[in-house]
């Protein structure tokens, strides 16, 4: 049964890497929120794999990390919801959803082509 822990542990490592890449590369804030969640899920799965290795006494996994995972998922949801609300408010206020502060999005598009 340790096989499942190793397999999903490696999968989680790849998820964290993917999320970090997306967090740096994608300019849209919503994509960054998604990337943040992919990193978060990767960390959770890694933690879950470690918990699974701690299976003993008929428990499927170590109950302490599993309980902390539930806490973590709920907190990650709260953070995501707050970020999305901030983003929507920014969009309502400025009509754009961008993190670029130096220029309005239109002229940015021109600069990109130059």
């Amino acid at each position: 049964m340790t096989d499942a822990a190793t397999l999903f542990g490696l999968c989680a490592a790849a998820l964290v890497g993917l999320g970090v890449y997306a967090l740096i590369v994608n300019p849209q804030p919503l994509r960054k929120i998604l990337a943040f969640n992919v990193v978060g899920n990767g960390v959770f799965v890694l933690f879950g794999a470690v918990a699974h290795r701690g299976a003993a006494l008929g428990f499927g996994g170590d109950p302490v990390p599993q309980a902390l995972l539930i806490t973590g998922i709920v907190v990650a949801f709260s953070a995501t919801a707050l970020a999305v609300a901030l983003l929507l408010r920014l969009f309502d206020e400025t009509g754009a959803a961008t993190l670029a502060s130096d220029a309005p999005p239109k002229s940015h598009a021109d600069a990109g082509e130059a």
Binding site: G9, C11, V20, I24, L34, A56, P63
Partner: protein
């Protein structure tokens, strides 16, 4: 056979994660992410964390998915401008290098985990009898690590206050989110009439069995929040103005009861959040019953968004 299934599952999870990273269209990326969240529930089942699977299914698959899809559809018109901001090849290569290093470091850590694995299962099992509950996760959440659970309930409440604080001045105290209208005889209204009664029963069931089997207040509260929002989206009911006193009481009741019982523990059992001998199970039940409605209302209001309309 189980190894093959797990390998296929891990591959599909990775493929969907790659899709959410590389898809050009943000909406496509978000839908990929929702599918990925649903698949993660299977990963949790395979890692023998059924409690976690329930939470992921209710929050990751249901609430987060609905929130992100609605946001992506609303931000669709900003797509073109954002695409031009895409960083150059050098930045992307550097990012890929950083990501590869992170993955490699984590992979090495996974392969080098100590054998035999350290575990708190023995300590948990030895002390479960003192809590009176049968589900070890509930025991950890409400007895051994009760401080985490208390802070978590408060974090959720703070996130909701953060969402509220984004309200424009003129709408403060008003109703959150847009006004939803739908054909009262349409299929959406039908679904919103039939599903919530079943959903409430399932939520209470999941909450109720949480003492002895996988389940509990977070999962139950998420289902309740989703059912209420379904009725709101179908126009069957409206979100209450955020200035209502009963609403404020419902929001803080759970954390207040939790803190009060925790503080009583200082006097009766010698430590904050400690339970006196023999009273652990009834006190845990009181906390759970107080937290369930508070969490459900808080989660629902986080999703409903900042106040936008006057109360009238």
């Amino acid at each position: 056979m189980i190894e093959t299934f797990n390998a296929g599952l891990a591959l599909l999870v990775l493929a969907l994660a790659i899709w959410t990273v590389v898809a050009r269209d943000t909406f496509a990326a978000v839908v990929g992410f929702v599918a990925y969240g649903m698949l993660l529930t299977l990963v949790w089942v395979q890692l023998h964390g059924v409690d976690v699977a329930l939470t992921e299914g209710a929050i990751g698959g249901g609430l987060t998915g609905a929130m992100l899809i609605a946001a992506a559809a609303r931000l669709r018109c900003t797509e073109g401008a954002a695409r031009a901001e895409r960083p150059g090849v050098a930045t992307r290569l550097a990012a890929a290098l950083v990501a590869a290093c992170v993955t490699a470091a984590l992979a090495v850590a996974v392969l080098a985990l100590p054998e035999p694995a350290p575990t708190l299962a023995n300590e948990t099992a030895a002390n479960m009898a003192a809590t009176g509950v049968g589900n070890p996760i509930t025991g950890v959440l409400l007895a051994f690590r009760a401080m985490d659970t208390l802070l978590e309930a408060i974090v959720v409440l703070f996130a909701m206050i953060g969402v509220w604080s984004l309200a424009p001045d003129r709408a403060w105290g008003g109703r959150p989110g847009p006004l939803h209208r739908a054909d009262p005889d349409g299929i959406l209204a039908y679904l919103a009439r039939v599903l919530p009664p079943i959903g409430i029963i399932v939520a209470v069931y999941i909450f109720w069995i949480g003492a002895d089997l996988p389940g509990g207040k977070f999962q139950g509260a998420s289902i309740l929040a989703a059912m209420w929002l379904l009725a709101v989206m179908a126009g069957l009911t409206d979100a209450p103005p955020v200035s209502r006193t009963w609403l404020r009481v419902a929001l803080v009741a759970g954390p207040v009861v939790f803190i009060a019982i925790g503080a009583a523990g200082v006097a009766t059992a010698g430590a904050f959040l400690a339970y006196p001998d023999g009273l652990a199970k009834p006190l845990i039940k009181v906390i759970e019953w107080a937290l369930l409605p508070s969490l459900a209302v808080t989660l629902a209001l986080i999703l409903a968004g900042a106040p936008e309309r006057p109360a009238r």
